[in-house]
Amino acid sequence: MDLDARKQLPSADRYRAGVLKYAQMGYWDPDYEPKDTDVLALFRITPQEGVDPEEAAAAVAGESSTATWTVVWTDRLTAADVYRAKAYRLDPVPGSEDQFFACIAYDIDLFEPGSIANLTASIIGNVFGFKPLKALRLEDMRFPVAYVKTFDGPPTGIVVERERLDKFGRPLLGATTKPKLGLSGRNYGRVVYEALTGGLDFTKDDENINSQPFMHWRDRFLFVMEAVNRASAASGEVKGHYLNVTGATMEDIYERAEFAKELGSVVVMIDLVIGYSAIQSISKWARRNDMLLHLHRAGASTYTRQKQHGISFRVIAKWMRLAGVDHIHAGTVVGKLEGDPNTVQGFYNILREPLNPVDLQRGLHFEQDWAGLRKVMPVASGGIHAGQMHQLLHYLGEDVVLQFGGGTIGHPDGIQAGATANRVALEAMILARNEGRDIWNEGPAILADAGRWCTPLRAALDTWGEVTFDYASTDTADVAATPTPA
């Protein structure tokens, strides 16, 4: 059979037993017009040497929807033409000759309503190990409004979180308790008390603080809530500590969350590694119990960081907004962890905007209407300090939790002083910005001025003022200037 490998075949030939090219099976369809109700995915494809890129794109469409390696006659018992995903567009990646962006459209009925597990089992289930591809990366997705509406989304959202906390007009401030492992419950609560009375809004368990020999979870919860309530009484503010309820089983997670609720905590925390179904379960619990749900993206960098293979964090951010978390770590730009400014702003826009327009410079390849789904508060954490306040505000805006762990606890005059330095730096910068000052250029002077009357801030600036983490980013947008609509 000598056939054009890119053309679909008439039915009789199409379903003859044997092996066909995926494109011939109908998974490559450049004339397909995506429907408003389709789920769309953009993959970065690096085909093996000699593999035709259109065939590679078709293979991805096939393996992430209905196909297997050979023709099966049972396709003809289904509306196969509808269920088959279609690769409908292929573009070379600017500046990377061996890579291609492939757009693939999926019919909405391929997916179970309201299930991230089902969605991801299709989109990333099999295809990433496919031999004809050297590497594959899921860059972006577009969810139709009809599918978005099958998810509950964040249990609280940015607006309601602020109203519950009674904190407006500035980023929230947090710190992760350090050292992350080894403290007893009693000493751990001390760090929380000092940081919250010093002026932070939140403190946080780290991702790997669960229930270890040196500190069992109940002990931690009890000491921490004493600290939180003392700090609240000392300041007149609502304060919180992200109690990490991550456990070995869903029963453990619920037990810990219930105890946090009994003790009056306003927030609980989970790690991304508990899995998508567990996240959706605890999200529904949080919604029933008026609890903020903080997500630590533990493990994400194993598959988000490298550009050629894995999943972009922008896709994880979209899945988590659907799955329903209130906080998610999304990068700092200026801190110690990976983060190109445009790429990180793309993540923030996904979490915070009611609608994302196409914005290629920020890596947003599709328009995404969130259809009233609540907004997720991004968390900036990892190697940031008070001296960067103007940069943080410039890059990340107001709706963000700025989390200074070392930058609070490592203060030379103690944890309270560290917390106060951060709060004063933040309020001074907001005040100046609102007064119309150019904080990008005047930032250091604004901080130095506040440091004249605030000794803790002066000490913080003296200690960390010059610390920067200036390394090249690995995860950057491919389109640098003059973007065109996708």
Partner: protein
Amino acid sequence: MRITQGTFSFLPDLTDEQVSAQIEYCLEHGWAVSIEHTDDPHPRNTYWEMFGQPMFDLRDAAGVMAEVTSARATFGERYIKVNAFDATRGLETLRLSFLVNRPSVEPGFGLVRQEAAGRSIRYTIRSYSTDLPAGERYQ
């Protein structure tokens, strides 16, 4: 103690000029400014008394400042805050909220602990100011 509710409570009390600049910022964004006061600053006391309606149609910072001055003259021994409300769809919430007046003495809060089973404690934050009936606090 000094309660630290509001956007700028860790800074020295704002001067009138600074308050006016913040109001200007709110008006530039099209937000409606309102004034509220209370003698019970409990962290969960959401509904302070309104000093008039939100000023949806007042677009002049000097006019708002006149209201602030009037509120201070009437309720000088209470907490007074300026709020800015944004009616944009998807927000419909406050965008800025900061104190512009405090009583001369701030008695703060006590923490009441009710010991419960298994070392659990039920916490209650109590405003010392509310020991006296409304109207007789902060005399």
